[in-house]
Amino acid sequence: MTSFPADRGADIVRALIRVITENRAYLSEIDGAIGDGDHGVNMAKGFALCAEKMGPGAMSLSAALQLLGETLMESIGGSMGPLYGMYFIGLGEAAEGIDQIAAPDFQAMLEQGLTDLRSITEAQIGDKCLMDTVVPATSAFSGALAAGAEFAAALDRMTEAAEAGRDSTKEMVAKIGRASRLGERSRGTLDAGATSCALLLAEMAAAMKPMLA
């Protein structure tokens, strides 16, 4: 069964940090349409802090993801700090003690992340938030595995579902967060949190795929 070594964790998290940093302006711009325009700034602040804490060395996937999660939780505040914080801590905790990450391990990680996320928010699919990305992406990965797909192919399904989830927010009316004030007027724009989540999941998949052996 294909897998990748858990000690490549720091490289994977560095890829996440890079994608958020590169999309700082884009994410804020999306948030500007129906939010307050700071999502990229907020996220980049937390991710950059994690880069500082990580330094240049190697780390296990579990430790690196938990460091990312704890940094977000501790430093960015708002709702996104604890939400992404819980999510990445959940992913990381589920990887604890595993040396080679195989597809079922990653499935367990995704499911733990989602469970932890749900422990602190009641947000649902359809609310126009990061749930619209993370829920279908998780199901897509699990579904692909159940249908007999390889790790790499399942990662592709996850990315596709995350991006489709992100796109689905465009036609939604926001039910939570600042944008919910706008009612019907929130329709027609992507949700910023769903967008950053799709970037993160796609990047995670892209970083893992070349490591698979």
Partner: protein, 335 residues
């Protein structure tokens, strides 16, 4: 945007520097730049009182740190909950070993960050109990009271909880006093204009000229109704009715009343509004024991006001009348 700032991304940090320099008798820095404490905190033998929330509501939250009030505060970005770490560090700054009462408002971010911080505190051996303010009648119907937001009633919650702590109550007593205070509070907001977050540079939402929004939240959360701009007397009626129709007010009650400006509404207008509120409460058989009218809990440069009415019993009355000293509220031994 005509504002007195340096870097729009550092409004909170730069402001904190000023609070520390201007009021050394009220504020001391901590290792966490987003946590300020009362210089005497932790006060030996006293339960610590902590609050926190997004910035932009000054004097709330940090302006209620002081003598017989809040011991330490977690300070968020403008209109954004402080991180869990800031709440945790505020707990540590306030705890004298008697435990900490974290008294905050019901917002998604604050709930999550406080929840995390309480967990982290438990690991460090700090006992924290919480009360979540939910005084805003406009934010959910009465049968979903747990969904309601906390607004200016938080001030009465802090006042009551902190006075109980100052009187020597244990953690459960402080929590009970704060809970009782907020359970007896009802609030409503009225927005006349939007406000501008400096880092954003454009209004946070829109209220058309000639309109006003009843039930608006402190960050522009949608209200009950957008109506034509009315007279202060009519506005008072619109505000008083939903507040006193909600439990728990009944004729014969004594109440404390707080009318807070949202930032840019002149003090004289708050008093024009208050005059009618006072009469309407009187008409409903509610006797005002104490009234606070001023900028107690604002939303940057928003125009408008909030009304908070709290039912008093002997205990809450004593706690509200307790002397205190802070940037937002200073009072002597008697009314």
């Amino acid at each position: 945007m005509q504002r007195l700032i340096n870097d729009p991304d550092n409004v909170v940090e730069d402001g904190v520097k000023g609070y520390l320099k201007a009021h050394p008798e009220l504020f001391a820095a901590t290792a966490n730049a987003r946590v300020l404490k009362y210089p005497r905190a932790p006060i030996a033998g006293k339960v610590g009182v902590v609050t926190g929330g997004g910035s932009g509501h000054e004097p709330a939250f940090l302006g209620y740190v002081g003598e017989n009030l809040v011991d330490a505060v977690a300070i968020g970005e403008i209109f954004s909950s402080p991180p869990a770490r800031a709440f945790l560090d505020a707990f540590a700054a306030a705890d004298s070993g008697q435990g900490v009462a974290c008294l905050y408002g019901n917002y998604a971010g604050d709930n999550m960050n406080v929840k995390m911080a309480v967990k982290m505190a438990a690991k460090e051996g700090i006992t924290v109990k919480t009360v979540v303010a939910n005084d805003d009648v406009a934010s959910a119907p009465r049968d979903q009271i747990e969904k309601r937001r906390g607004v200016a009633g938080e001030i009465f919650m802090w006042k009551a909880g902190a006075a109980a702590a100052a009187e020597g109550a244990g953690l459960d007593g402080v929590i009970a006093a704060a809970q009782k205070a907020i359970d007896n509070c009802r609030s409503i907001g009225l927005g006349l204009t939007s406000c501008t977050i400096p880092a954003v540079g454009k209004p946070n939402f829109t209220i058309e000229a000639g309109k006003m929004e009843l039930g608006i939240g402190h960050h522009g959360e949608p209200g009950i109704e957008v109506v034509d701009l009315a007279s202060a007397d009519q506005a008072a009626e619109m505000m008083v009715r939903p507040v006193i129709e909600d439990v728990p007010f009944t004729a014969g009650d004594e109440v404390a009343v707080l009318v807070s400006g949202l930032g840019a509404t002149p003090l004289v207008e708050l008093h024009i509004l208050y005059a009618k509120i006072h009469d309407l409460l009187g008409d409903a058989g509610l006797a005002t024991h104490r009234a606070y009218v001023g900028n107690y809990f604002t939303s940057l440069d928003m125009m408008g006001a909030t009304l908070t009415v709290m039912r008093l019993d002997d205990e809450i009355k004593r706690l509200i009348d307790h002397p205190c000293h802070s940037l937002g509220l200073t009072q002597g031994r008697q009314a």
